[in-house]
């Protein structure tokens, strides 16, 4: 319970700074409007105006919250404006991409650990792949896949996998190599096969590393999916909500989509954290 005080303090500080910034950033527009209407604004009128504009530069927290509330709880999920609907579109592509990325990451790590050629040949490319801005490569992936008839959820999932496989490769290579020389020697004294060495030593030893990577990977997956929704003129998904919001100057809509994405990411990372705790506890690796 002691930790609740510092947490709330930080949250309060953020809210205060946010309100202050909203007043400051939206004041110009309010002043301009007042000047056009040839009226003088008192300070309190100015503040009220800056916090209730329809298209503010920076929407106030309560505006974002009420938009979030309105487009989730108070709206049917079948509505084209429901954030639950858009969130689900993004979530499904994220999960599929995460599954692709994790699978690919584990396979590559297994190859890298077992083959020197793959270690030398694959790792540099994996690193290089992450230095290319995803925004640059996402449209190309979508266009290329579209031209061969792959549309819908798959292209987005591939972009999402493109971001999420990397932390899994790095973490799993480290994890599969984590057994100490003595652990490996023990296996040698049993004349264990490579397969036995893998399933009975390397794989279980890598579990803590895998889960750490999965937490990074799932967040990267979500970012990848949203980026995949941006350049394609997609009309569904959180990325599409952000994009259409920016077309029409609907800053409140952009911010609420942003928050929806952040909440979604927090939930996903939290779920992995729970699975991690339970799994490691069952394995005896967490005390």
């Amino acid at each position: 319970m002691k930790s609740i005080v510092p947490i709330l303090t930080v949250v309060a500080a953020i809210v205060v700074i946010w309100y202050g910034a909203a007043v400051w950033m939206n004041a110009q527009w309010a002043q301009d409007q007042a000047a056009r209407a040839e009226v003088e604004l008192t300070f309190s009128e100015l503040v009220t105006d800056t916090l209730s504009q329809e298209r503010p530069r920076l929407p106030a927290p309560h505006q974002v919250l009420s938009e979030l509330w309105g487009s989730t709880v108070e709206m049917k999920v079948t509505s084209k404006r429901s954030l639950i609907f858009h969130g689900w579109i993004t979530l499904s592509a994220t999960l599929l991409g995460f599954a692709f990325g994790t699978g690919l990451g584990i396979l590559l790590a297994v190859g890298i650990v077992h083959s020197r050629a793959m270690d030398m040949g694959v790792m540099p490319w994996a690193i290089a792949s992450q230095t290319i801005p995803i925004l640059a490569i996402a449209p190309m992936i979508i266009v290329v896949l579209n031209s061969v008839g792959v549309t819908g959820i798959i292209p987005k999932a591939i972009i999402s996998a493109y971001l999420s496989f990397f932390p899994v490769v790095v973490g799993m290579v480290k994890g599969l190599r984590s057994p100490a020389p003595m652990d490996l020697d023990l296996m040698h004294t049993y004349s264990a096969s490579k397969g036995q060495m893998f399933w009975k030593l390397r794989m279980p030893a890598s579990m803590p590393y895998l889960f750490a990577s999965l937490k990074v990977g799932i967040a990267a997956s979500l970012v990848g999916t949203i980026v995949g929704e941006l350049p394609t003129g997609a009309i569904r998904g959180l990325g599409a909500r952000m994009l259409s919001g920016s077309y029409y100057g609907q800053t409140v809509q952009i911010w609420s989509a942003l928050f929806a994405a952040a909440i979604l990411a927090a939930l996903l990372v939290g779920i992995i954290g729970i699975i991690q705790r339970n799994t490691l506890k069952r394995m005896g690796m967490a005390q």
Binding site: D185, L186, H188, Y190, S191, K200, L201, G284
Partner: protein
Amino acid sequence: MGTWDVKKPVIEAKGLDLTFETNDGPVQALKGVDLAIEKGEFVSFIGPSGCGKTTFLRCIAGLETPTGGTLTVNGMTPDEARKERAYGYVFQAAGLYPWRTIAGNVRLPLEIMGYPKSEHAERVEKVLSLVDLEGFGKKFPWQLSGGMQQRASIARALAFDADILLMDEPFGALDEIVRDHLNEQLLELWARTEKTIAFVTHSIPEAVYLSTKIVVMSPRPGRISDVIDSPLPKERPLDIRDTKEFLDVAHRVREGLREGHSYD
């Protein structure tokens, strides 16, 4: 397996050399090591660090490859013996896999060597009681003390039918009281299982107390400087360490170690 006759030593080294290539040039870890270990012996290797005692044990286990001379285990090369699962190896640290229970760790060699599943539980129970760990099978390693973990690792090396037990300073990291207790237990276990034991240590009392034969080694290059056949009886209570025979052997070991040092 049946081709070597019973009289032949279980472990036999002749002119064994091992040179490691390092960045600072070659290091001679073993030079001209001659040794024969008979069936049922308890042989200790003692010497300062760098004398090659652990390296020699690893050669027997086929974990290192000698660069010269011959070495046979049960009449085979160490590699063949390893594939025949001729020995159990106990390391300096317990090295239990943290994701396996104690029973799971003891079961590990059985799983790998393909012992029938129906035998697992019985064998695990048997060796856990040999090392006084009945009832601890379901615990995870971190729930046990260091001494208990090391006992579990000995149980793991006993779980399968190997006649040879190779032990590399298994009690080095434990305190004196626990070590005394484990030494007593180890002798008991040796008497009961009739295994051939090769035991690396840097403690003189431990070597003298446990062994039928003490191999004193010296460093640079690693070689044998003395082999002492112990005159002590097989039955050894802890207070045998205060007898004259015991102190005489200990003295000779100490002399051997000093001699080895005077070379450099």
